[in-house]
Every structure is written in structure tokens, then in C-alpha cells.
């Protein structure tokens, strides 16, 4: 079991980031990421070393996120940062923008959202995302372009209403 610890240490941040951006709730993301690690440990025997460990773990995380979504509470994407409050007004403004972006992400169709999240928060290439999601690279690009366009539209409305 001790050998598993370095893997948790290595992937905790990226897995948690993906879960937060997919779910928009830190508590739910914590549960989902933790469950993904536990199930990952339980299913280690099924891991094929020819593939990236993260890709394999990510598929488990997606299932956990779906479980959480099924059991979802009322969602309030706070977007309140824990950044140092050197300039509270700036922090508040940034928090507001972050909350708007997070909220926009949550309005995307899941298939588009996961491509954006994987591209922006894991640094995976188009090819690696295609491998992780098991869909053609062309589809990944088309979903990413569409998602960015949708995000742009949502955020433009948000700015106009502000």
C-alpha cells in the first residue's frame, strides 16, 4: 500500500483540479478525487502499462464525477479564492471573474467541458486527450473549438449583464 502513496502525491493536484472544474464544488471534488484513488488502488491489476497512468485514472475519476452528479446537492460555485488578501478589492473582482468562468464551464455539455478541462488543466495534447477519452483526435478538436466558442458567448452575456 505504501507504494501507492507517491502516486497519490503525484496526481492529487491534477485529479482534484479536473474534478473541481468538472463539478464546480470543492467538497464534491474532494470526494470524487478520493474515491477515484481508492477505486484506482482496488483496480490496479487492470491497469495496462502501455497507456498513460493518468488516462486510466482519469476514466475512473469521470465515473466518480458522474456518481457525484447523480447525487448532487444544490450547487453554488463560489469561486472565492484563498489567495492572500493584499488587495481585497482586486481579490474580490478576480473571485467574481473566476466564479463566472467556473459557472460558464458548468453550462457546457459534459463532452465539451471535459475536453476544455483536460486541455487547460492537465496540459494533455490533443492526441493524449483523444487517447484518454477514446475518441478520434478530430472530434477532440471540434469539441474544443465549439466549447471555446460557447464559453465566449456565455461570458459575453455575463459581461453585458454586469
Amino acid at each position: 500500500m505504501d507504494a501507492f502513496r507517491p502516486l497519490v502525491e503525484r496526481y492529487q493536484r491534477v485529479l482534484f483540479s479536473v474534478a473541481v472544474r468538472m463539478l464546480g464544488d470543492e467538497d464534491e471534488a474532494t470526494d470524487a478525487a478520493q474515491n477515484a484513488f481508492v477505486r484506482g488502488y482496488q483496480k490496479l491489476g487492470t491497469y495496462d502499462r502501455n497507456h498513460k497512468f493518468f488516462s486510466w485514472l482519469y476514466r475512473i475519476l469521470v465515473n466518480e464525477c458522474l456518481n457525484v452528479r447523480r447525487a448532487r446537492r444544490i450547487q453554488v460555485p463560489l469561486g472565492v479564492s484563498l489567495a492572500a488578501p493584499d488587495d481585497t478589492h482586486r481579490v474580490a473582482e478576480q473571485a467574481e471573474i473566476r466564479a463566472a468562468v467556473q459557472s460558464a464551464l458548468l453550462r457546457l455539455p459534459v463532452a465539451n467541458r471535459e475536453v476544455v478541462v483536460l486541455r487547460h488543466f492537465t496540459g494533455l495534447s490533443y492526441h493524449e486527450i483523444a487517447e484518454t477519452l477514446d475518441v478520434p483526435e478530430k472530434t477532440i478538436k471540434s469539441r474544443l473549438y465549439e466549447a471555446r466558442q460557447q464559453l465566449g458567448d456565455i461570458l459575453q452575456c455575463w459581461r453585458a449583464e454586469r
Partner: protein, 460 residues
């Protein structure tokens, strides 16, 4: 959605995947096409905003928490399930007793065999319903037993892979190795046994992050205080603690001090003050440095304590003899201050009591205004924030130095204080006395993964 003809190049540029030739072609097209430049700028903005979210940091102690769960072979049940299972445990007990009473009434003696062998007429319907109820009870019981026993949950269709994984992992230790010393002493103590009997305390001890919080001396001291305990039992505090603006303000030392001031707490109980805080004239005045300076002068503070003097001063001017004070005279030359004083909502609040004047004169309030008047004033005018600050139990929590320090930058503690299960755990007298002075327990809290693992082992 139709793809734009240049999408491949534009997104490629954003993602840094273009070859030099493609980049050159895009540069030429951008130079020649204003609409394309606009589209590129829009996409760049979106990318920057999404990137601006940045990576999220897992909560403190996350690795320990995961390793504890791995050791127990347990996945986290969602919060709704934990609450539902708790209610079900109580509900099924009540339902069971109601059914028994019902059967006893229908069958005279309450002989269990009679209803299982069938009844005539309307009794048959009762029997059918009863059978469904019993079946429901059985399912509910299984669910509750599964939950409380912490049975390892297995994905559908994953049994084979789990078997393979078990072989891959090799034999697991049958007992959890516990570190020598105080933690081990605590795990072998009667106190630990007693604490394990309380499901809320058990859940608390299995949570590494909560253990880390409780290991803090300031949190321990706060939790054992009567007013904090009382505040946590209050069902209305939940929404107050979830207020995003309150959480944000608590991250700033200056604002935190202002929010903890008694004068602000008193003022927030007054509806006329709440209305005055929403007035644009007050918002503008507080953001003005001249007004900020004037509010610090004794002369203006004295004037604000007497509404008739304010009215007279506005009408006739300070030189009329009602406020012949150089500071006030200078202050009343400020149009923003005058607008604030003349606002009907401000006047109504001054007439009602001296709460508004006292709040404005408070050093902590003035410091917060100086730090960021616009944000602080906007916060004070916010409906949710006003409702939160009106809650006297929240005020009691904020008034506690240790807890206020712990709340700073700790959203998990905010959530915990609003959680009925956490409050229930904090009612456990054994836990309170362990928190108050059991050194072994303190050590165990610090060694939270050993504590969680020991709980998992006992559950099995």
C-alpha cells in the same frame, strides 16, 4: 455549430501547436482581416479567463485522507447519503414500531404468524401493504447495515478486476500498524471505545482534515466554550456561514476586525441601519477620503449622536451655534457628507438609536473603510451579508478570538460549523472532555491517518 474556416489555425495558435509555416500564414491573414483579428482576440480572452482559474489545490491532509480510505477500502459516501442514512436509521425504527402496533391492533395478540398466513377481506389489503412495508424495511435495513459496517463497495462488473487487483497487491495486513506512543495509547483507551459508539464522532475522527482542525489549540479552546456550542446548535446559522462575502471578508484582517466589533453587531440588528447602509449617498460618502477623515473627528461623531443637531446644522449651517466646531464646519463643506446626512434613510437610522453613529465612530469600522471603502460599503449593503450578520449566534462565533483566527482562510471550518453532524459530534461530552485535556487524544488527532485506519479496522 458551424466551424469557422480559420478555427484550426486560431485554436492551434492558442494551444501552441502550429508549425512555423502555419503561424506565418495566420499572421498574414490576421494582418489583412479585421474580423479575424477580433475573433482571435475574443478566443484569446476566453483562453486567458479559463487559464486564470488555475489549478485547484486539494484540501490539506488530502493524501493522508486518501491513504486512510485506501487502508479501509472505503469510498466516500456523498453527504446526502450520510444524512439520508442517518434519517433512515431513525425512520425505520419508528416505522417498525408503528407497524408492530398496527399489527397488534388488527390481530389482537400481535401474533406474527397470523399476518403472514393471510387474512380475509380488507385484512388481505392490510396484509399486502404490510408485506410491502416489511420488504421495504428489509431493504432499508440492508442499506443501513451496509453503510454502517463500511462494506467495501464494488462497481458493477468490476468484481473480476478487483480479484485481479487483489492478487496484484498481494496479501494485505490484517491489522493496522499504529505508531508507538501517545496515539497508540489513545487507540487502546476506554475513551476511544466510547467515542467510537457515536457515529458522528466516528465520522469526524475518520476525516483527516477535520482531525487537523481539531488538533489546533485555538479551535479546541473555541469548541469547548458554551456560547460556541450554543451557536452551533442553531439551525439558522447554516446560511449565514455560507455567505460568500462573509467568507471573503474573514480573509482580510482589517475587515475581520470590523466584522467582529460589537458596535457593528448592534447596528446590524436595526432595520433602519440596514436601510441606511443600502443608500447610494452613504456608499459614495464612505468612499470619499474627506468624509473618512471627518468621521474620525470627535466633532462630527458628537454631531451624529444628536439627530436634531444634524438637521439644524444642515439647515442653517454649523455657524448657527448648534455645531460651532471647526471640524464639523469643514466637514459640512463636503457635498458627499452633506448628501449622506440629508438622506432620509440615514436620518431615520439616527432617529431610531445611536447604533449607526456608534458603528461609524468605531475604529475598526473606520480602518476597514480606509482599507477598501468601496468593497466594505458594498458588502455591508448586501442582503445576504446583512442577513448573515444579523444572526446573533454567528456574532457569538465571530466574537471568539480563537475561532475567528481559525476561520481565517479556512472554508472547511465554515462548512463544519454549519454542519448538523459536526454540531452533533460536538455535543458528545466524552469528546469535549478529551478535547479539553486528553494529551493522548491530541496526539491521535495529529496522527489522523492512524486514527482513521484504526476506526476502519474496528468497523470490520
Amino acid at each position: 455549430m458551424n466551424q469557422h474556416p480559420h478555427d484550426e489555425l486560431l485554436h492551434g495558435a492558442l494551444d501552441g501547436t502550429l508549425t512555423e509555416a502555419q503561424a506565418g500564414r495566420l499572421r498574414e491573414q490576421l494582418a489583412a482581416d479585421a474580423a479575424l483579428r477580433e475573433r482571435a482576440a475574443g478566443l484569446q480572452r476566453v483562453k486567458d479567463m479559463v487559464d486564470g482559474l488555475g489549478p485547484a489545490e486539494p484540501p490539506g491532509g488530502f493524501v493522508d485522507r486518501v491513504m486512510g480510505a485506501v487502508a479501509r477500502g472505503a469510498t466516500e459516501r456523498p453527504t446526502w447519503f450520510r444524512r439520508w442514512a442517518g434519517r433512515l436509521a431513525v425512520g425505520q425504527d419508528q416505522l417498525f414500531h408503528r407497524r408492530v402496533r398496527h399489527l397488534e391492533r388488527d390481530n389482537g395478540s400481535g401474533d406474527g404468524l397470523r399476518w403472514t398466513t393471510g387474512m380475509a377481506g380488507g385484512g388481505a389489503n392490510v396484509a399486502k401493504k404490510t408485506l410491502w412495508a416489511v420488504a421495504g424495511l428489509a431493504v432499508a435495513t440492508i442499506l443501513v447495515v451496509v453503510y454502517y459496517n463500511g462494506t467495501r463497495s464494488v462497481d458493477q462488473g468490476a468484481e473480476g478486476t478487483i480479484g485481479a487487483a487483489d492478487r496484484y497487491r498481494g496479501a494485505q495486513p490484517t491489522s493496522v500498524a499504529v505508531k508507538e506512543g501517545s496515539t497508540q495509547k489513545f487507540l487502546q483507551s476506554d475513551t476511544f471505545d466510547k467515542l467510537l459508539k457515536d457515529k458522528n464522532v466516528r465520522a469526524l475522527m475518520a476525516d483527516n482534515e477535520m482531525c487537523a482542525l481539531l488538533a489546533r489549540p485555538d479551535v479546541q479552546a473555541a469548541m469547548t466554550k458554551a456560547d460556541v456550542q450554543r451557536a452551533m446548535q442553531d439551525g439558522t446559522i447554516d446560511a449565514a456561514l455560507k455567505d460568500a462575502k462573509l467568507q471573503l471578508a474573514m480573509q482580510d484582517e482589517t475587515m475581520e476586525a470590523a466584522l467582529r466589533a460589537a458596535s457593528l453587531h448592534v447596528a446590524m440588528q436595526d432595520a433602519t441601519v440596514e436601510a441606511a447602509l443600502k443608500a447610494t449617498s452613504l456608499q459614495l460618502a464612505l468612499a470619499d477620503e474627506g468624509v473618512q477623515a471627518a468621521l474620525r473627528t470627535k466633532g462630527l461623531q458628537k454631531l451624529l449622536a444628536d439627530v436634531s443637531a444634524v438637521q439644524a446644522a444642515l439647515k442653517k449651517g454649523p455657524k448657527a451655534g448648534l455645531a460651532a466646531d471647526a471640524d464639523v464646519e469643514a466637514a459640512l463643506n463636503n457635498t458627499k457628507l452633506k448628501a449622506m446626512l440629508a438622506d432620509p434613510s440615514f436620518e431615520a437610522a439616527l432617529k431610531k438609536s445611536n447604533a449607526l453613529a456608534a458603528m461609524l465612530a468605531d475604529d475598526t469600522f473606520q480602518a476597514a473603510v480606509r482599507k477598501n471603502a468601496k468593497l466594505f460599503a458594498a458588502m455591508l449593503a448586501d442582503d445576504g451579508f446583512q442577513a448573515a450578520m444579523k444572526n446573533t449566534n454567528l456574532q457569538a462565533l465571530l466574537a471568539d478570538d480563537g475561532l475567528a483566527a481559525a476561520l481565517k482562510n479556512n472554508r472547511r471550518l465554515f462548512a463544519a460549523l454549519a454542519d448538523p453532524e459536526f454540531a452533533a459530534a460536538m455535543r458528545n461530552t466524552e469528546l469535549m472532555s478529551a478535547l479539553a485535556g486528553d494529551a493522548d487524544f491530541q496526539a491521535a488527532l495529529r496522527e489522523s491517518s492512524a486514527l482513521a485506519a484504526a476506526i476502519g479496522t474496528r468497523a470490520k
